[in-house]
Structure formats: structure tokens, C-alpha cells
């Protein structure tokens, strides 16, 4: 009898039961740990390959997930950026409050309490020898009023309008003040306290800084002496800064030097205007 070669089960049918038999043998044998030695042997070969592939797959998967969630990540980023800006604004507000608080403390501790002061905020300006403040005639400020922080001299009101004023700083070329040189710390200079005067002098603004002239040649004055404004136009016992770069020529009648201001004029935020001086 001729064998039908087209019958799909003719040759291959026997392979499926054989395969089935082997797989059942492995499954049942493995369930009673009969093939643990096979597992151990095969794992030595296959585990490193599987581990490398698994790590590579997880890395690619992570990238794919990142790409899929790009829109969500963008939204999160925008949200976080917004929160960051809000926090920065909040921090700036608290920093301003802190600065104002410290300025007020200094003002209460070191200023002349008999005078009347107006609190003003410094507005940004490009000039190095003047600054603008946010208080003007509406607050009772007038031209010639003195601007201070505690016992430290800042400048004098040069121009004034309803809502703001222009302050001429001590480093302005048009500024000229009588000062005294004393020893000690700037915080120790107050209205009612006696201070030992070393010399009188005159300060004026210049391109090099605040220049100090007419310092007496007779007394032993050194760099670091405190420069205190003592001028009838602006008041007494207002600290300006420290003496630096004093001239050393003994042949001169008087000596000169420069003043390193106690305040950094570029970073001023809160000042007090002494009205009605």
C-alpha cells in the first residue's frame, strides 16, 4: 500500500508526543527537585547572559518610559519651575523684611532718638555718587535733609518731588563735609557719648573715592582711625568710615588719606531720612 506523503501527521505526528513526553518528564521531575543538578549546571552558563540582557533591557525600558512620559515630565518641570519662582519671590520678601528689621534695630539702637525719621527704600539707580529713594515731599522730606542708617551717614537730599528723592552720597564730587578722626569702633559713636578726637579734617568726593584732607600732622594718626562727620550742615557724631591710605610725607603741613565707608552704597536697601533737621 502506497504511503500518503501529503498527510501532515504521517511523519511529524510522532514528534509531538515525544516532545510532550519529555516536557512532562521535566515538569514532573522538576516538581520533586530531581533536576536540580541540571538547573545548577545550566544557570552557570545562562545566568551571566540573562543578567546582562536584563540590565540592558531595563535601561532601554527606562529610556522608553521617559520618552513616553515626556509630556508629563515637561508639565512637572514647568510646575516645579513655577514653584521655584514663587519660593524665590517669597524668600526675597522675607529677606527684605529681615533687612528692614535689622535696619530698624540699628536705627533704634544708634540713632538720635530726639529726631524724627522717615523710613525709605532705595530704588535701583545707575549713578555711583547718588541714589534714589521712594519717599518724597508727601512724607515730609525736603531738600537738605540728612539720610542715615542708625549712626552712619549716608548722604543728603539733593532733589525732592512728591513721591521720591535724590540723595547725594558722600563720594559725590559736590560733597564736602567737616569730619573728626577718632579712635574706636563705629558702633560706640553715639550722640551722648564722649569720644576722643584725634584730629579735624575735611572730606570731599573724588574720582578715587572719598578723599580726606587737612589731617593734622602733629598727632599720631594711623590707618583704621574712625572718620566721623561733625558738620554743622548735617549734624554731629555720624560715622562715615575708616581712614585708609594716609600720606606719610613728614615734610607736608597736613596729611591726606581716603575713607573706606562703613556702608556699601551699592547694596543699600533701607535708609532713614532725618526730617526737620
Amino acid at each position: 500500500m502506497k504511503k500518503n506523503s501529503n498527510n501532515i501527521f504521517s511523519n511529524e505526528i510522532i514528534l509531538f508526543p515525544i516532545g510532550l513526553f519529555f516536557s512532562i518528564v521535566f515538569l514532573l521531575g522538576d516538581s520533586v527537585n530531581a533536576f536540580s543538578f541540571v538547573r545548577k549546571g545550566l544557570s552557570y552558563i545562562a545566568q551571566p547572559i540573562y543578567y546582562s540582557a536584563n540590565i540592558a533591557g531595563l535601561k532601554v525600558s527606562s529610556y522608553v518610559h521617559s520618552v513616553i512620559e515626556l509630556d508629563e515630565l515637561k508639565k512637572n518641570y514647568e510646575g516645579l519651575s513655577l514653584k521655584l519662582y514663587e519660593t524665590e519671590v517669597e524668600n526675597s520678601y522675607y529677606a527684605m523684611l529681615l533687612e528692614e528689621n535689622e535696619s530698624l534695630k540699628r536705627q533704634i539702637d544708634l540713632s538720635n532718638r530726639e529726631n524724627k525719621y522717615v523710613l525709605a527704600k532705595v530704588l535701583n539707580g545707575s549713578s555711583v555718587d547718588s541714589l534714589r529713594i521712594d519717599q518724597g515731599q508727601a512724607s515730609g522730606i525736603s531738600v537738605g535733609d540728612i539720610v542715615t542708617i542708625g549712626n552712619v551717614y549716608v548722604g543728603v537730599i539733593l532733589e525732592c518731588d512728591e513721591k521720591g528723592s535724590l540723595v547725594r552720597l558722600a563720594n559725590s564730587k559736590n560733597s564736602s563735609l567737616e569730619v573728626i578722626l577718632v579712635e574706636g569702633d563705629w558702633q560706640s559713636v553715639t550722640k551722648n557719648k564722649e569720644i576722643g578726637v584725634l584730629s579735624k579734617a575735611v572730606v570731599s568726593g573724588s574720582a578715587e573715592g572719598i578723599k580726606l584732607e587737612n589731617i593734622s600732622n602733629n598727632v599720631n594718626i594711623q590707618n583704621g582711625s574712625l572718620v566721623v562727620v561733625n558738620d554743622s550742615k548735617v549734624g554731629e557724631n555720624l560715622v562715615l568710615g575708616y581712614l585708609v591710605d594716609i600720606s606719610t610725607n613728614p615734610a607736608d603741613i597736613s596729611r591726606t588719606g581716603y575713607v573706606s565707608p562703613v556702608l556699601d552704597y551699592d547694596n543699600l536697601v533701607t535708609v532713614f531720612v532725618n526730617i526737620g533737621y
Partner: protein
């Protein structure tokens, strides 16, 4: 002979790496698609021996009962063989449908066989399994089609089933 042995070792390592990679990346088994592609290209006896060998390694690294992947593979291949009784599995629209069904059956069988021999029961019917198996089956068909197209380009017009490397 040495060359064949080297080819076999490299092929085994590459196959195991790709299978592990695709499993960890998409949960997709490349092995069955590759074996389905080689079905009727190489001798079934050889295909079953190779698949039994490779799936044993896979069972070990995936820490599932030994022989479960081979049993799933065997069941799906038998199912595919039964389908070929009705219509051609070589060409035409239904050949794609049969291939999708075979791959789909492989995933379903693989899940329930592993479950049966690990927990001792079949668990409950899950819709997610059907959906994921369908997606994987469709994806598997795409890979199978790509492999078919690739080998058709390598084949000479007059050489029949033999591969021709230019």
C-alpha cells in the same frame, strides 16, 4: 565542523541574550517567533531539539518549572499545525491570521502552564492577559513579516527555498 559548532554557540548566546532582552523590555518572547519562522524551513526534528535545549536554559534563568516553556512551544506549534489542515499557512491573508493565533495561543498556554505547575491551579480568567497576548501576537507577526521579507530578498528567484548570500 568547528565552524558549525562556533556558529551554534554564538547563535545560542545571541538568541538567549535577545530573548532575555525582549522579555525584560516588553515582556515579549522572541524565541517562539524565531522558531515559527524556522518552522518548515529547517527539519522539525532539529527544530524541536534546538527549541528544547534553548527553552531549558530559559526556564532556568527565569526560574520557572523546567519544560514549561517547551510544552507551551509544543502546544502552540501543534495548534498551528492543526490550523494548517484547513487553509494554507504559507501565503494569503489567513496565513497571517493563523500566525497571530499561534503566537497568541503560545502566550496563553505559557501563562496557564506556568501557573499550573507553580501554584497547582489555573487561577482565574484575566482580561488583561488576553489584551497583552493580543498585542504581543500582533507585534510578533510584524517581526515574522520582517524576517520573511528579509529572507525573500536574500532568496534567488530560481533557487526555491535555499538561501543565497550575495
Amino acid at each position: 565542523m568547528i565552524l558549525y559548532v562556533l556558529f551554534a554557540i554564538v547563535g545560542f548566546v545571541v538568541l538567549l541574550f535577545l530573548e532575555s532582552f525582549s522579555l525584560s523590555l516588553f515582556g515579549f518572547s522572541l524565541l517562539f517567533v524565531v522558531f515559527l519562522f524556522f518552522y518548515k524551513i529547517i527539519d522539525l526534528k532539529l527544530l524541536l531539539i534546538i527549541s528544547a535545549f534553548v527553552t531549558l536554559f530559559l526556564d532556568v534563568v527565569l526560574n520557572i518549572p523546567l519544560g514549561s516553556t517547551f510544552l507551551s512551544f509544543l502546544s502552540a506549534l501543534f495548534f498551528y499545525r492543526v490550523l494548517s489542515l484547513f487553509l494554507s499557512t504559507e501565503r494569503g491573508f489567513f496565513s497571517y491570521i493563523f500566525k497571530i493565533l499561534a503566537i497568541f495561543f503560545f502566550y496563553i498556554a505559557s501563562f496557564y502552564i506556568q501557573r499550573l505547575f507553580t501554584f497547582g491551579n489555573l487561577g482565574y480568567f484575566e482580561v488583561n492577559l488576553l489584551i497583552s497576548s493580543s498585542v504581543k501576537a500582533f507585534f510578533g507577526l510584524l517581526i515574522l513579516s520582517l524576517l520573511d521579507n528579509f529572507t525573500q530578498k536574500l532568496r534567488g528567484n530560481s533557487k526555491g527555498n535555499s538561501l543565497k548570500f550575495k
